[in-house]
């Protein structure tokens, strides 16, 4: 079965079956690839395929996907058409409410959208979709403090929402509050323990915050998670996680071996035992430095 490329540049749709498969994969993986979605959808509509009949029950999920992609690229009339169809089929649906709210946001009517969200949330407090949209509206209005408070309250209620923790980390990073961003990312790591992307993000945030010992620890953790015994090392990966992890190790060891005089800081984030992360000894740092060099040059193959 052919793999579907969800990064750009992507393959242009050449068959209806391929276009349907691409759209299905994009739906399943929650990628925000709006141009790709619209290109495939346009291709489907241009061909003489009876889309509702072919997709069956998936047609409504497809419409939702199409609506979000259309709004993302400013194609208002298409979004309105899709929302109308969804409203007809699912009157009073919370998911359709979210789409209607997003349509107002995309049209620039943020205060109106905010009023509607407040009204809905007064009636049903636990409407997750609408709550998240309210946070997004606060961010779009530039009300970072309100957004952070609202999002924290949301996460107190819905702790397992990884997306929410990532959004909080992004929020804090935008205002350069990296300590709180690290805390949010640590929750995301707890909820998705097998995911190397979040560990890498944690390491990079720690490095941005100049906590090189902590960053080194997390870069090594990432490299450990993506280690591969297969031929070609990380050259065959769809992502750059392994390469970035080893580059990060190299950066941290370089800094720790010869820190600039005025910038020696201890790490501020405590680990599980309540201790600050201590950097490894100079000998170990040297060994790690060499190892990172080998791995970067050799494509993460072991025993290079």
């Amino acid at each position: 079965m052919a793999t579907v490329n969800v990064a750009s540049p992507w393959a242009k749709p050449i068959s209806t079956a391929g276009a349907l498969k691409t759209l299905e994969v994009l739906r399943a993986r929650h990628v925000r690839a709006s141009e790709q979605v619209l290109e495939n959808a346009d291709f489907l509509f241009a061909s003489n395929l009876d889309v509702p009949k072919k997709l069956g029950d998936d047609y409504w999920a497809f419409l939702e996907q199409l609506t979000m992609a259309a709004m993302d690229l400013g194609r208002g009339p298409l979004a309105d058409d899709c929302i109308l169809r969804l409203e007809e089929r699912f009157p009073d649906s919370p998911r359709v409410q979210v789409l209607q709210g997003m349509r107002r946001e995309a049209a620039g009517k943020l205060q109106e959208a905010l009023k509607i969200y407040d009204l809905i949330l007064d009636v049903e407090e636990a409407n997750a979709g609408i709550w998240k949209r309210r946070v997004a509206v606060y961010r779009q209005l530039g009300e970072t403090q309100l957004a952070a408070e609202d999002l924290c309250e949301y996460l107190d209620t819905f702790y397992t929402d990884v997306e929410g923790w990532l959004e909080l980390a992004d929020l804090y990073s935008t205002v350069k509050d990296y300590t709180h961003a690290l805390q949010a990312l640590s929750h995301a790591m707890v909820l998705a323990p097998q995911n190397p992307f979040y560990v890498l993000q944690f390491a990079e945030t720690a490095a941005t915050n100049e906590e090189y010992a902590l960053a080194l620890k997390m870069y090594l953790r990432t490299a450990e998670m993506v280690e591969s015994d297969e031929d070609g090392g990380f050259l065959h990966d769809a992502n750059e996680v392994a390469r970035q992890a080893w580059l990060g190790v190299k950066t941290c060891t370089t800094w720790l071996l010869a820190p600039p005089a005025a910038a020696v800081r201890t790490t501020r984030v405590v680990d599980a035992e309540g201790a600050l992360t201590q950097p490894p000894s100079a000998g170990e740092l040297q060994a790690l430095d060499e190892l990172a060099g080998e791995r970067i040059a050799g494509g993460n193959l072991p025993d290079q």
């Binding site: 400013g74 943020l110 109106e112 530039g142 997306e163 097998q194 998670m225």
Partner: protein, 115 residues
């Protein structure tokens, strides 16, 4: 190519099994026609039992070669196929600032200025 040979071997084993079944049926039909189908005689001939066992062994070889390559089952191998775009897309928090910034949609008058 190897998979094709495996398919051939498995197919020939199936043919062998079919032949054994047919031979057994003709054997018992013959006994019945001769009027000798008492319980004590109703045994499958030894060579046909052997044929079935050989067919089973040959089939095992063939189907093992024919099977498609095994897929990876580790979490790490699945993560190697994913991209940053899908891991950090946060679609529920999708924002539309870029539309206003690109000038495609006019900001409405009731909106406060954003930073």
């Amino acid at each position: 190519m190897a998979r094709f040979m495996g398919a051939l071997i498995a197919a020939s084993a199936i043919l062998l099994m079919t032949h054994a079944a047919n031979a057994t049926w003709t054997h018992f039909s013959k006994l019945k026609a001769l009027g000798r189908s008492e319980e004590s005689i109703r045994q499958v001939p030894f060579n046909l039992i052997l044929e079935v066992l050989v067919a089973m062994v040959v089939f095992t070889f063939g189907i093992t070669v024919y099977s498609p390559p095994l897929k990876e089952i580790t979490y790490a191998s699945e993560m190697r196929k994913r991209t940053v775009e899908e891991m950090n897309s946060r679609q529920s928090f999708m924002r539309f600032d870029h539309l206003r910034n690109a000038g495609r949609i006019e900001p409405s008058s009731d909106e406060r200025s954003s930073t």
